[in-house]
Amino acid sequence: MSAIVEKRSEINPFQAPRNLHTLRRQVSNLLIVVLSLLATIFAAAVLLYLLLYVLRAGLPYINLDLFTQIPTPNGEPGGGLANSIQGSLIIVGLASLFGIPLGLFTGIYLSEFGRGAIAIGVRFLVEVLTGIPTIIFGLFAWIFIVEPQQTFSGLAGGVALGIIMIPIVARTSEEVLRLVPKELREASLALGATESRTILRVVIPAARNGIITGIVLAMARIAGETAPLLMTAFGNPFFNTDITQPMDALPLRIFNFAESPYQAQVNQAYAGSLVLIFLILLTSFAIRWATGGFKSGSR
């Protein structure tokens, strides 16, 4: 790549065009530079506008009550989203209990044992699973858990979100496990360790940071999921720690309050969005920083 950068400086933009053909080529070149710059500015501006708008609309309503109080009845002032935040934490925790082992061991299988048609099939399945709309997993959890139990529940929400975690955790852990040098495995085997011991005591610790990154990424992703919770956790205006009962979640509360006719609730939706965005962006930055993504040089 560096060779290209050097070459660029040799093309002098101020050199007089020799003829019309050259002029046309340089004009179309300039046109593409400008258009692609405009596209980039558009994409960056949309994000910045969105963030600043939510910040401006939500920041005045960030206060202690937001994190300690439950919502007031319609139209009454005050109240907060504490039950939603608590519910979100519980549901994400449940999803992690369910999704992390399945995802991690799928990653281990793909990187350490899997070969041949079955491994290709599983890998393909995992990739395709990433693209399935999340509401489908909500339907699945409804039929398997909500309907037999005859009640919406935080557990059903956790299972639905857990399925969403599986492919994310599986893909990232497979990738980082593959990066562990095979000399490390051979050294461990040569010292007499068994295969399972090598994987558990040598390979996984070597890839630990990458695996944690994948897990955090998956948690950040499901923390913002709403659609599958509509038909599983359902929402609950009160504190609830019983996972077999309906439970609130922050994105769910944002969805309900955003379309509310009461301005106080709309304001709280903005404040909730701000909390959610802040948490997710913080995680993204932390991951980027931890994986060395801000250093120049590497892609």
């Binding site: 596209a39 994000l47 339907l139 398997f144 007499g192 939706a269 969005s273």
Partner: protein, 326 residues
Amino acid sequence: MQQSFSRARGRVRFFEGSSLRLSDTLFRGFTLLLVLFVVVIVAGVAWVLVSNALPTIRQFGWSFLTNRAFDPVHNVYGVAPAIFGTLVTSAFALLFAVPIGVGTAIYLVDFCPRPLQKPLAFLIELLAAVPSVIYGLFGFLVLAPWLQSTGQPWLQRYLGFLPLFQGQFHGLSLLTAGIILVIMILPLITSVSREVILTTPTAQREALLALGATRWEVIRHAVFPYARVGITGGTILALGRALGETMAVTMVVGNQASPISPHFFDTGYTLASVIANQFNEATPGLFFSAVIEAGLLVFFITLITNILARILIYRMGQGRVGGFVA
């Protein structure tokens, strides 16, 4: 890049007692069991959808796809308006997101000053990290009112001769959903295109530069032929995302079936928004089954687009593109 366990194990097998193998067998068995569980879940999702959609499939057959009424009162169900809405909004999203996304990728790889390259790419990937309900909130509270009061009247004044921009101004409309989808799939297209463009062999770029080509000619004649398959794969991946997007679209599309017409200002439905909107009202029987069949359709459509996209991206010779986004 396959790990060399089988070979390495073959070498050390001489020195291992047979009792040591037991823990390995257990570990392998446990791993395989969990993988099997994942496969069973995916199969279970498909099976659950098909078996619960069977009543409507039996009752209506193919007419479910062409019938315009989704009518619990008369117990007649069809999703033609939803299919129409899904296709129209996704097509709109691709129409705008592909040029903008590929353009951004080109800028990031070829024209952007080096120090800005990574922060800008990261910023655009952040667009993908914003939860879909927040796009919905923004679309519902900010974009839709603005479109109704300013955007749609403006479009009608200048482009009103097109049937697309005729009719009443509804803030919540197919147009609003389309615009939100453009923003949502943009980072996916940018990120896949950027990584594919980065894989173009430097020698090919340099060869064209040595022949005196401009930067744009390098992109057109060296980068595009090489990256075309991957960019197409990324586009199809983004299409799958747009077809299945639920929350943001449900919040801005209006959720009122209007007659199928080329009017972009009309409210509409998409398949995913039918599920999000109707599921909790659905009574057991045909109504419930109809909602599940809408889910089955979304499942199959996104499954097919994703398989297609992955095959194209695999053909690029590198399985993993899209990084954190895809």
